[in-house]
């Protein structure tokens, strides 16, 4: 197994790297001024073990490119390894709190290297957890360089993307 000697550099717009304690402050407020429901439990939820692996992960929070959603995700393993499969637990929040995935939205995930004009060589699978979050399995960033990870959130025929930029060395 390749040692996790990779460095993630945070780049680009709309990316907020936050540990679980910072998520309370970083969370957006809803249109009525209330904070996202989940952030009040952010400390506990972020420290919770990833249900797929049992290990602890770091949490990253980003806003969608159109501003409609807040996406919080954690990867297993963390940091993201080069050319190895990894998973992500993804939660999506709008102004009313965490969206209930099965009823309201769908999520797709992908990644690409825009400078190289290619994406991943694998196709990830997305499943829904009972608590409304998503589990994304089968991601693989197969080479070093600048990557963009995409979370495409669809509701009622409208899709908005949250994007996380990173460089793997």
């Amino acid at each position: 197994m390749r040692s996790a000697r990779c460095v993630m550099k945070l780049m680009g717009c709309g990316v907020v790297a936050a540990m679980w304690a910072a998520t309370l402050g970083a969370c957006s407020t809803g249109s009525d001024g209330t904070c996202c429901e989940a952030s009040q439990n952010g400390a506990a939820s972020a420290r919770a073990a990833d249900p797929s692996t049992g290990g602890q992960t770091g949490t990253t929070e980003i806003r969608s490119n159109g501003g409609a959603y807040l996406v919080r995700f954690e990867t297993v393993p963390s940091p993201i390894p080069t050319n190895e499969l990894f998973s992500m637990r993804v939660s999506v929040f709008d102004g009313s709190g965490r969206t209930q995935a099965s009823e309201e939205i769908s999520l797709s995930a992908d990644a690409a290297m825009p400078h190289h004009h290619h994406g991943m060589n694998v196709r990830p699978r997305v499943s829904r957890n009972d608590d409304g979050s998503f589990l994304v399995r089968g991601m693989q960033l197969h080479m070093p360089g600048y990557w963009e990870i995409y979370f495409d959130i669809t509701r009622d025929g409208r899709t908005e993307r949250a994007q996380y930029n990173l460089t793997i060395e």
Binding site: S108, H115, G119, G157, R158, E160, Q163
Partner: protein, 679 residues
């Protein structure tokens, strides 16, 4: 006459690579089939039963055709060519001499309006009279014998039919605007239809070409799915047999196939954006191909440029290929045994090659966006320099997505309408083939150093047009749409309202910044005020006046921002102030209107003062020199008041002052020979 071929070591190496790729092309092309559905081929699929002759040797050119979309050989060997922009069919003898013309512009029986396809019977021709949404059977002297179907989406109705094929008893019509095939008896009775919108087996995305073989099979060029689909028609029903293709350039792959022909056990495909004719077995096995993209501007001699259709003579010894953008057809004969295949050219859209430029472009402030459907990309240029500088491109290869997976966001299938908004740094793109509107944000600052950044564009959001249509239909007072919304053209006001011209529904739809429906216009009122075929749209600087290029009505219709009809500009004809094919419009900061016409190859400028319209200039003619055009297309004005014109078939952009003075051109470096000097 024979084609010149370069027989160099590099050419031979490329040929060897191409032949090696043939072995893998079936896997790469994604051939799918339903087991057991192929009928055993008869010994005489067409003609006398002799095996198919390998065609591809250039013989002659049929010149000066006004957008020849399709052709067919008559039993006596004459070639019938559909001249779409002249609303007629022209017959040629075997020396390419024009011998007869059938049809004239109009909507009465015997008249045609933007016809697009043809099939020949023993003593008659069947024409897709597409602008009238019907089929006509005409005798060889032009006498109307039957009119079949009317406009609509119901049984026996047609919308922009793009292809037609005959068997002994039936017509098979590629009902392009309805994404299906309709079957009629030769007496005009509707029999059945098959297909619907989609990417799965048996579904279509702009079916255009269609052909029948003698074994009861129907082949459909499923253009925006980049494949050919084969069906077996028996007991009055069509059963899916197999499909082959997939977007790409390698042998067996297809890029917007628009024509298909069956001849002597061979299936020929006009592989439009690969600029070639590909030949397959009835099972979809790649056999051979001919044609390479032109190198010299408009060269002939077997070089092919956007072939739309192919037809084979009944003896199998000749094939005619229509090239509407080159205003010609070429005739090919048998290839001598042992002739090596031509080299497979590097696709022009590979990195480092020059752009083809699409027909549609949009400029706002210092930035310009150009859609390029050939590469499925959108290109962004900084126009603050004498030559525009490309600063980013975006879009992805759509061919890598399995058919059971949704097309990824950020990729396109036929990007068409494009709107650049420098205030918000947003780019709106009508993703035609995926039936959605995609919005991107550019991470760009005017003062940043000039550089190409492939990561500059971020996908923001997309709107599914099916869902948008459903929401619109549920809105009180909304117009009744016969078809789902299709973005033919788009413009945006400073108030962030989106104005969408929908040619199929013959309407302009207005949405707010969240794509909530506001109003529609152009679809009601007196017949004379209604739109027939809106192809482009532009707004006055204050957003108070809306100009719509209505190509099927040969004029520009003008409305206020609420949709009230104001007046028309132009009428059909060739004089000043008149149009044959008014396709695109633009408005400068003074409110002056510019209209491009690819049949006249002219830009006309009009001064608008209230309801008064004055012709303020006209320039252009067909050619390759400065200020000349070949398939003149979209218009835009940049921050420096330069009028930018997409000179589509010359693969370049041209820049003019607002008074028509030529300033510069850009692109056209894919040609290896020099362009004519300025006179």
């Amino acid at each position: 006459m024979s084609r010149g071929k370069a027989n160099t070591p590099a050419t031979r190496r490329r040929s060897a690579v191409a032949r090696a790729l043939v072995a893998a092309c079936a896997l790469a092309s994604g051939t799918t089939h339903a087991p057991g559905q192929d009928a055993a081929p008869s010994s005489a699929s067409q003609g006398t039963g002799a095996p198919a002759t390998k065609l591809g040797r250039f013989e002659m050119e049929v010149e000066e055709l006004a957008f020849p979309s399709a052709c067919a050989y008559l039993k006596d060997g004459r070639l019938a060519v559909v001249e779409t922009y002249r609303h007629r069919v022209v017959l040629f003898d075997d020396l390419a001499q024009r011998v007869a013309e059938i049809g004239s512009p109009g909507s009465a029986p015997g008249e045609l309006w933007f016809p697009k396809a043809i099939a020949a019977d023993d003593d008659a021709i069947w024409v897709c009279d597409s602008g009238n949404d019907r089929i006509q059977r005409l005798s060889l002297n032009g006498t109307p014998e039957a009119v079949i179907a009317t406009r609509g989406a119901g049984e026996g109705e047609l919308c922009d039919p793009g292809g037609i094929a005959l068997d002994n008893e039936r017509l098979f019509v590629a009902d392009t605007g309805n994404d299906r095939v309709q079957v009629f008896g030769k007496d005009g009775r509707w029999l059945t239809s098959f297909g619907e919108t989609g990417r799965a087996e048996g579904q279509f995305n702009r079916p255009i070409g269609i052909a029948c073989d003698a074994d009861g099979h129907v082949y459909v060029a499923d253009s925006l799915n980049n494949r050919v689909q084969k069906f077996r028609f028996e007991d009055g029903k069509a059963k899916f047999v197999r499909a082959w293709g997939g977007w790409g350039q390698f042998p067996g792959m297809l890029s917007t196939p628009t024509g298909v022909e069956c001849s002597r056990g061979m299936v020929l495909v006009a592989d439009s954006r690969n600029h070639r004719i590909q030949c397959f077995s009835p099972e979809g096995t790649y056999l051979h191909e001919w044609g390479l993209h032109i190198v010299k501007p408009h060269e002939c001699e077997g070089r092919i440029h956007y072939p739309s259709a192919v037809a084979v003579r009944h003896d199998g010894a000749r094939a005619a290929v229509c090239e509407p953008f080159e205003r010609r057809a070429q005739v090919f004969g048998p290839v001598a045994e042992g002739t090596p295949p031509e080299a497979v050219a590097t696709p022009f859209w590979e990195r480092g090659a020059m752009s083809h430029f699409g027909q549609r472009l949009s400029a706002d402030g210092p930035l310009m966006a150009v859609a390029e459907p050939d590469s499925q990309m959108v290109m962004i240029y900084d126009t603050r320099h004498p030559t525009p500088i490309q600063i980013t491109t975006f879009g992805m290869d759509p061919g890598s997505t399995p058919r059971d997976a949704p097309p990824p966001f950020g990729s396109f299938n036929e990007p068409g309408a494009v709107v650049m908004d420098t205030d918000d740094l947003l780019v709106h793109v009508g993703d035609t083939g995926n039936r959605r509107l995609q919005v991107f944000r550019l991470n760009w600052q005017a003062e940043q150093p000039l550089a190409f950044d492939p990561a500059m564009a971020q996908f923001v959001r997309a709107y599914d047009l099916q869902e948008l249509t459903a929401r619109l239909r549920a809105a009180p007072g909304a117009p009744a749409l016969a078809w789902p919304i299709e973005i033919t053209a788009m413009s945006r006001s400073k108030a962030n309202e989106s104005f969408i011209a929908d040619r199929r529904n013959r309407i302009v739809l207005v949405f707010d910044s969240e794509m909530n429906f506001l109003r529609g216009f152009g679809h009601e009122g007196p017949e004379e005020h209604r739109l027939r075929g809106p192809n482009d749209i532009a707004l006055s600087p204050d957003g108070g006046t809306i100009f719509v290029a209505d190509v099927l009505a040969s004029r520009v219709s003008v409305f206020d921002r609420e949709g009230k009809f104001l007046f028309h500009v132009g009428s059909i004809g060739e004089g000043h102030g008149r149009f044959l094919v008014p396709m695109y419009v633009a408005v400068d900061r003074s409110g002056d209107l510019y209209v491009s016409d690819p049949e006249l190859e002219q830009i006309q400028k009009f001064r608008i003062a209230g309801n008064e319209v004055t012709l303020a200039g006209a320039w252009g003619r067909r050619g390759i020199a400065r200020g000349e055009f070949f398939q003149l297309a979209g218009l835009a004005l940049d921050a420096g008041d330069r009028l930018i014109a997409s000179d589509y078939a010359n693969h370049r952009l041209q820049f003019f002052s607002t008074s028509g003075q030529f300033l510069d051109w850009f692109g056209a470096r894919s040609y290896t020979t020099g362009l004519p000097k300025q006179e």
